[in-house]
């Protein structure tokens, strides 16, 4: 352990000696003759490097993509004042370049739209170049940033439902976004298009501005649908093009929502001739959509002998989960068994539907409530009689 740290220390010392050594060697080179030397500077826009009476200023990063940087080189006294676009990695000579007593400038790297690395070559005798940072604040970078969002007004729907799709673009960056182009692929064939497609978004959006477009689709086929992302492409003021896309998501399309009416006609207890009874009817909507224009009509077979009042009824609407209840008055004028057929027609949201239900009513001849007495009373009378007779002969 001790031995290894000792060795590390030794290596460091060695490296140190070597570095000092090489530095001393370079120093000695410069001082020997009018050698050409160079210095690299990292410059922000507006920064300036002064050397002798040369002044070199970074004016603008003209194109990041093309590697074009604009610099202005001037000499105190006015003998040189030139603004030139410099191509990345190609040396540019001013006043004949470093070989001829001028300067040679090379853009060695562009960091971003605000800064670049610049190599300055010159004769040593010109002295030491110095960087003068711009005293004006660095101009805000022109960097538009578009956020794109695509949303459905609900993520569960039924076949046939209309759905509103909203595409929102917001410039959250700095600088104007130009040439905005929205690429949105509609989710076919699960939907059919209705209106508003393709979404229209402004071509330019200033920083902080937003725009949205809405279009309407109609759900056409049930299932789980993957909604593709919407892609927005745009360019900044320097024609740098960019793009962004929304998050893909999925929605569910359920089978078509329809009203489904279930009719229940209660069986009535047997009716006594010429007495009135109630027939209770319930029409309940067990579907997922409202039933509309509901018409109930009843008929009885055999057609005479049983009178029904209030069996024909109509309702405007029965919402899903709701029920309409009503009762009809029935009275029998003839003994028998009757079939009551209730026909209900309605619009289930998709078209006209007819549902039927039947019930039977029995009309009895007379009041048989005390019928059992007809049996019991004679039995009691006979038993009493026999008992009396038995007593009479019992000695």
């Amino acid at each position: 352990m001790k031995a290894s740290s000792y060795r590390l220390g030794l290596i460091c010392l060695l490296l140190y000696v070597l570095l000092i050594g090489s530095a001393c060697a370079a120093e000695s080179d410069e001082e020997d003759e009018d050698e050409i030397t160079f210095r690299d500077f990292s410059l922000n826009i507006g920064d300036r490097v002064d050397l002798d009476d040369y002044q070199m200023e970074l004016i603008e990063i003209q194109s990041l993509r093309d590697g074009l940087v604009v610099m202005r080189v001037s000499r105190v006294g006015g003998s040189l004042d030139e603004q030139r676009a410099l191509l990345l990695d190609s040396p540019n000579n001013f006043d004949g370049g470093a070989e001829k007593g001028g300067v040679t400038i090379t853009i060695t790297d562009i960091f971003d739209e605000q800064s670049a690395r610049v190599r300055l070559e010159y004769e040593q005798k010109l002295g030491t170049p110095r960087k003068r940072a711009s005293d004006r604040p660095a101009a805000m970078p022109e960097k538009p940033e578009l956020l794109v969002q695509k949303s459905f007004d609900r993520n569960e729907m039924h076949v046939g439902d209309e759905v509103k799709v909203t595409i929102t673009i917001k410039n959250t960056g700095t600088g104007t976004a130009n040439d905005i182009d929205v690429q949105d692929i509609p989710p076919l064939p699960e939907f059919t298009y209705i209106a508003g497609y393709p979404p229209k978004i402004k071509e330019t959006l200033d920083s902080g501005q937003s725009d949205s477009a809405v279009y309407i689709l109609n759900a056409a086929r049930e299932g789980s649908v993957q909604i593709p992302a919407v892609v927005v492409s745009y360019a900044d003021s320097k024609k740098n093009s960019k793009s962004n896309s929304s998050e893909p998501f999925s929605i569910i399309i359920r089978p078509k929502s329809k009203a489904d009416l279930v009719i229940n006609v209660e069986d009535t207890p047997p009716l006594v001739l010429d007495e009135e009874g109630l027939l209770n009817i319930s029409i309940s909507n067990q579907g997922s959509a409202s039933a509309t224009r509901i018409e109930a009509t009843g008929e009885v077979s055999p057609s005479d002998g049983l009178e029904i009042k209030g069996l024909d009824k109509s309702f405007f609407e029965i919402p899903p989960g709701d029920a309409a209840n009503f009762s009809a008055r029935i009275s029998g004028h003839k003994r028998g068994i009757y079939t009551i057929r209730l026909k209900v027609s309605y619009d289930d949201g998709d078209g006209s539907v007819i549902r039927e239900a039947t019930s039977r009513a029995v009309v009895l001849k007379r009041e048989y409530k005390y019928q059992y007495l007809l049996v019991i009373i004679p039995i009691i009378i006979v038993s009493a009689w026999i008992y009396r007779r038995h007593r009479e002969y019992k000695y």
């Binding site: 009689w385 026999i386 007779r389 038995h390 007593r391 009479e392 002969y393 019992k394 000695y395």
Partner: protein, 369 residues
Amino acid sequence: MLNVLMLGVGQCGNRILDAMNKEAFGGGGASKLAKYYLRPKFPSRVETLAINTAVNDLKELRFTTAKDRLHVPNLHGVGANRNVGKQAFMENRDMIMGEIEKRGDFDIAFVITSTSGGTGSSFSPLLINELKRQYKDIAVITVAILPFREEGSIYLQNAAFSMRELMEVDAEGIILADNQYMKRFSGDIASAYDKINNMIAQRLLFLIESLDSEMLSVTDLGDFKTVMNGGLRIGTMGFYQADSKNLSIRDAIENSLKPGNLLYPANVADDAARAMIIIQGSREHLDVDEITKAVEKLSASAGHVFKGIMVKKGRPKILSVFTLASAPELEGIYAQAARAMQEEKEKRTRARKQLDDAFAHIEDLEEIY
């Protein structure tokens, strides 16, 4: 309408009375339940009363209402002892007569009894006297049942003495039925009794009906009394129903008088004093010529013959009632009874003598301790 009192005295009398009630329900097996829905249908107003000292005998009855069963309380029964029976009757006379009186007035009474038992044979003569005393114009007919001859000396003796008493009382007459004579109808005693009782009941009902109906040729209570007053005032009844093979009315009448169809063995041709022939049947069977011929033939031997004809749907039925000028069979009973009594007496003296002889052994001895 005739008011008829039917008294069944003693076990035998009770049972025959019960058989009459059963007959009034229609008879046969159906009558077992008929009492639950019908009233006994007698041809006249008939009151029945079963009198006995033995409660068990009364309980045995089936077709007689409880109110028509009169128990005469006597501490240990009468045990076939007529003297005990007579005393029991006298002690309860007012109660018995009161019970009868409740039933109203009567034109004729039938007293049905065995001659050989204790209760019936001792009560009946006394009862007849009381009836005669209480109801001035009542006709009283005794229906007396003679015992099986092998039933023992006491029964024979009772029969002999009670018959004498029954003949002495002021009744209209005695109708005899002889168990011994009818024994031939059945093997066992119980069913023989039933058969005999039913026969007697049927005939008595027929008789009542004939006395109280609108006859083609009338017989009435007066005629019947006249018949019963004839001869020894002892008579019996014969009965015959024509079968479908032979519907001849003449044959039917003759058959009703044949010994086989009588309740008591008698020779009608030789012994009959007076007779009454009651004829019932559909009009087409009632050939007056035939009837006349048959009746004339009977009249030749019997002194007088009454005839009554009832027109009623069915095969001819004949009831013949007659009294006897002589009763050899009855004499036989007395002879047998006397013999039995004599034997009994001798047996007793012999036994007494044996016992006395036995006592003789200790005659002069004292008890030594």
